[in-house]
């Protein structure tokens, strides 16, 4: 086992893990702040990927640039989804359960609408740099990985700064910590929730584009993506932005190392097994819950 293989595996593993983190950070936020488990989160991410695909295919728009179009678009769509579908169930006895069932239905709808629009054939996002790499000594930094990684850093930092530095962001954090008290101060919880939800969905769009740069995608791919982001979010601690990023890093390291040391047949098993053991010993994720 030589160091080149190990380091190379780590490089791509970590970048991949960060892409999962970007896909997951919004999911973590909706769950933490609103108690909504948004099953169609990854489906919205996939929608972002398909939009980027069409923009690249027909107008030659680079996927990173197209994020500038699809992210605001998804924000608006998500505002509508919140008002129409999510808001009515916030009065349920168990919002978590109700939201899971509802958004599961939404995911099925989105998936099949995507089949109707884009067909079921698999797609690959291939900008000119799709299979190039930055070569540093013996190591290769693949451009799609680099782009996804950068998008992820930018996206997660933006969310973090929004929560820490803006008035709305602070209101979101307050609403998460003490919903009743926050309302007393005249903060409109519904508006806060809507913004959180829409923001989360738009990061999913960016995450979807990043992931589509790494792997091919089909309308049903969101099911798989959902599993990845679930893991990242849980390891990082629900509602914890920095935690999610760290979790992406850790999962990347685990995958990278196991790809280097283990027979591939056992990689997935070991990853899931380690996560299981990890959760048994740290039953609240790596970091504390909280925004």
């Amino acid at each position: 086992m030589d160091s080149v293989l190990i380091i190379q595996s780590l490089i791509s593993g970590i970048m991949m893990g960060m892409v999962y983190a970007l896909l997951g950070v919004g999911f973590s936020l909706t769950w933490g702040v609103m108690h909504v488990i948004h099953i169609s989160h990854a489906a919205f991410g996939l929608l972002g990927a398909y939009l980027a695909y069409s923009l690249l295919q027909y107008f030659g728009v680079d996927p990173v640039v197209s994020a500038a179009v699809s992210v605001p678009l998804l924000f608006l769509v998500a505002c509508g989804v919140y008002q129409l579908l999510i808001r009515p169930i916030t009065k349920a006895k168990e919002v978590i359960v109700a939201s899971m069932i509802l958004t599961f239905g939404l995911a099925i709808i989105l998936e099949n609408v995507m089949v109707l629009i884009w067909k079921a054939d698999p797609r690959v996002l291939t900008p000119t740099y799709a299979s190039g790499a930055l070569i540093v000594g013996p190591f290769y930094f693949q451009y799609p990985h680099l782009v996804g990684f950068s998008l992820s850093i930018v996206g997660i930092t933006a969310i973090y700064l929004f929560l820490k530095k803006t008035y709305t962001g602070m209101a979101v954090r307050a609403a998460w910590q003490q919903p009743e008290a926050t309302q007393l101060y005249g903060v409109n919880l519904y508006r806060i929730s809507m913004i959180t939800f829409a923001l989360a969905v738009s990061t999913a769009g960016a995450g979807g584009i990043s992931l589509a740069l790494l792997n091919s995608f089909e309308p049903h791919s969101h099911n798989l993506w959902l599993i990845y982001l679930f893991l990242v979010v849980i390891v990082g601690g629900v509602g914890n932005v920095i935690g999610t990023a760290m979790a992406g890093l850790i999962i990347g390291v685990i995958t990278g190392l196991s790809m280097a040391f283990l027979p591939y047949q056992w990689v997935n098993l070991v990853t899931f097994g380690l996560l299981m053991i990890f959760l048994i010993f740290r039953p609240h994720g790596l970091f504390k819950q909280g925004v």
Binding site: D121, S131, L224, A260, Y264
Partner: protein, 402 residues
């Protein structure tokens, strides 16, 4: 409290009654002059939707053709296709529904291999002819007599043509060390079978022989290993997503083996369409091929050109069509819709399909297929058997264009 429970209970009873009502929907009466109904299920939504939809298109194109000619046995044909949602359990239930409730005259084949493996016993128990791609060699060794692969998708045969061609080039130009990465499922195991046989015969050292479980999120370390071990041929025995991931990593890491051999990933139209020049020079097998010189292929190609703007019909479109051709000839030959007569006719006669003439052995299989394909300049070309070659193979593979 009791009132509430009663309420719930009456709800349960209502549902039970509704269920009962659903079950009494009468089965369609069948008689002479009525259409011949061909039924079964395909994965039209979910994980395998893409393939399922191509098979359906191929089948429907066949039906258009035969109905224009006046039908089968003088009766028009009609499909009753259920969507099994890529769920094998549902594929079995729907096969039973087609056979016992719809009382279809003929059954059609399904996808993927696991579904075919589960539906083959259903066909056998009900004594109904089942023409499909099957589930590789193991499924045809179970002693079923009503199942036919016409043509089958046979992992064990998939690389036969490739190796036969490889054997013809001078030994010093052949690859010396192979990296074999195989998806851990029935297709993968079947593909591995022929690699084991032939690498021994051709004295190619298998330096890496590993299986992986899907999904394959990243192929970087696989390519690094292959590069470090100086493997000059790589077998990527997988599907489209893992194939794409492997190809992208190979290019990014500038890995240039003499040959890249793909499992069943490169045979879907998306490979050429999505990967473009990066998908070039990949070897693979096939069960049928759109440039074969058998009657019908031109017609299919013209159709997919106008309808889907594709040069040459996709493999699974061809499968759907070829299975139907087989059934058509068996029914016409047996002059009957009696399943056992159709089966016996198939066991003793030759059928001519777009994939060529076929006769079936005891297992329901034709003679081993040995087509080898290579993607050259964005087109799938046939390079083996030599006498029907459409283009000279490109070997060794040129270095990646950066």
């Amino acid at each position: 409290m009791k009132g509430k429970r009663m309420k719930g209970f009456s709800l349960l009873m209502t549902i039970a009654v509704l269920c009962g009502l659903m079950l009494t929907v009468p089965a369609a009466a069948i008689g002479a002059g009525k259409p011949i109904v061909i039924g079964g299920s395909l994965p039209l939504t979910g994980e395998f939707a893409e393939t399922g939809q191509w098979i359906e298109r191929g089948m429907r194109f066949w039906a258009e053709g035969i109905n224009a000619k006046g039908g089968l046995l003088g009766r028009p044909v009609e499909f009753k296709i259920y969507d099994d949602q890529s769920n094998v359990g549902k594929a079995v239930t729907f096969a039973e529904k087609a056979i016992t409730v719809d009382k279809v005259d003929l059954l059609f084949g399904g996808y993927p291999g696991t579904a075919a493996r589960a539906v083959m016993p259903v066909a056998e128990k009900h004594k109904v002819v089942y023409v499909s791609m099957g589930g590789h060699m193991k499924s045809f060794q179970q002693g079923y007599t009503y199942s036919f692969g016409a043509p089958p998708l046979m992992g064990e045969w998939w690389y036969e043509g490739f190796f036969q061609w490889l054997a013809t080039i001078p030994a010093n130009q052949r690859p010396k060390r192979a990296a074999v990465y195989t998806i851990n499922n029935p297709v993968g195991l079947a593909l591995q079978d022929s690699i084991d046989r032939w690498t021994k015969k051709l004295n190619i050292q298998v330096a890496i022989n590993e299986k992986y479980n899907s999904p394959l999120a990243d192929a970087t370390s696989m390519i690094v290993k292959a590069k470090q071990m100086n493997c000059d041929i790589i077998f990527a025995n997988g599907f489209f997503p893992d194939g794409v991931t492997t190809m992208k990593a190979a290019k990014a890491l500038d890995y240039n083996p003499k040959a890249i051999v793909q499992g069943v990933g490169s045979v879907v139209p998306a490979w050429i369409k999505e990967l473009g020049a990066d998908g070039d020079f990949v070897f693979s097998g096939t069960s049928l091929y759109n440039k074969l010189n058998y009657p019908g292929n031109d017609k299919l190609n013209a159709y997919v050109k106008t309808k889907y703007n594709l040069d040459g019909y996709p493999l699974y479109f061809g499968f759907g069509y070829a299975w139907m051709q087989t059934i058509e000839q068996a029914v016409t030959g047996a002059k009957s819709l009696d399943q056992t007569k159709i089966r016996d006719w198939l066991k003793t006669h030759k059928v001519d399909t777009i994939a060529g003439p076929m006769t079936f052995d005891k297992k329901g299989l034709p003679a081993p297929i040995n087509f080898c394909t290579q993607i050259i300049n964005g087109k799938v070309e046939l390079i083996w058997p030599k006498n029907i070659r459409t283009k000279e193979p490109v070997y060794p593979k040129p270095a990646w264009k950066k």
